[in-house]
Symmetry: C2
Subunit: 216 residues, 2 copies
């Protein structure tokens, strides 16, 4: 009958912040911003709502932190892919495209996050800045890969090709996330390699094949 006060463990600030951010991202991915209420976030993080206010002055601040982390993670994935890739420019481009069109990048969860944040990104200048920065960085990476290809043109033409390739990648990514069961394994990846190859005038498919044989 006595209202037992809930037991708890003290955690370091960093771990609690991470847990709260992870919970927020989870919920946004699943149900959009609407589902990520303060109480739901706290609940998923195994904590009571009041604690959020202890680590974040406002819910908006938590949202911003979550978005920042999401974007940083995605950027990190990209640079990781390039760091692990070979020296051959064609192989590097192929690896970049492949990575974007297979799990874990192709994932309904990511699309949910993307859609869940978009409106807030538009309204909040801070989030807009994060967004623009990450996007441009991604396309610049792509443009750099294209500029390194044998027989590459000038900067302007590389930029146009980068936009086109980015479009292909984004679009296929979108399709893969939205309708995961509509594609066979590797189908999306091969279509992407073939399309980007057609745009840039390289045989990325063949390149990628030998590359994977080497690994095996």
């Amino acid at each position: 009958m006595t209202g037992e006060r809930r037991k708890f463990r003290r955690e370091g600030e960093e771990r609690r912040r991470e847990a709260l951010i992870a919970a927020a991202l989870d919920l946004i991915a699943e149900g959009g911003a609407a589902g990520a209420t303060v109480r739901a976030i706290a609940d998923r993080a195994g904590v009571t709502p009041g604690l959020i206010r202890h680590y974040f002055q406002t819910k908006e601040e938590l949202t911003r932190a979550a978005y920042r982390q999401l974007m940083e993670d995605m950027s990190g994935d990209n640079t990781e892919v390039l760091a692990a890739a070979q020296d051959d420019p064609v192989a590097r481009l192929a690896a970049f495209v492949s990575a974007a069109l297979r799990p874990p990048v192709v994932d309904p969860r990511r699309m949910g996050l993307w859609a869940g944040f978009i409106h807030q990104v538009r309204r909040d200048p801070d989030m807009a800045a994060i967004h623009a920065e990450t996007y441009i960085a991604y396309r610049d990476q792509l443009q750099g890969l294209i500029a390194a290809l044998p027989g590459a043109g000038d900067a302007a033409s590389c930029r146009a090709l980068a936009i086109a390739c980015n479009g292909v990648i984004d679009g296929l990514w979108l399709e893969g996330c939205a309708l995961p069961q509509a594609f066979a394994t590797d189908e999306l990846e091969q279509i992407g390699l073939s399309a980007v190859g057609a745009i840039t005038g390289q045989d990325l498919l063949a390149c990628r094949r030998t590359q994977e044989e080497n690994i095996a």
Copy 2:
């Protein structure tokens, strides 16, 4: 001091439903589902909240109706484009791609709508059905255009090409909506024509150019 009761005009059921749906779409496009509250929708439609319940049993029903109308409008645009296009298969494909990569299809508002609905579409089976139907119809149109090209392959290869082209179109559309000021006029369209041309092995750019000269 007397609380004046608000004056109003009676309208036909159809016009009121349309007005409410339009208001809902407006608000979702601007601020996502979160901004489209019953009160905000009624306000924008120039009506009091209670009236919504008179035309829609629940808010969810209004949302579904709005989504259905959005999808029908978009499908209508596509068939219109094809109806107005020439007979030459290459020109038809080029017109299809062009239309998708210029206003009013490329429009931040549309992207806002798309993102605003995604999570509800995932949860609500009715909306999911509408979504899948429209998407497949669009890709089938594209596949039909590709199959009609000179030297087209079998159905399977046409399907793969359609997926790739759809990816390009979606991706470029996304970029154009998200960063409208990042591209010069027609830049997106030309990139799209060139990329889809590269994928399908046709010179859509040249084709499109002569086509527009004819109109002028």
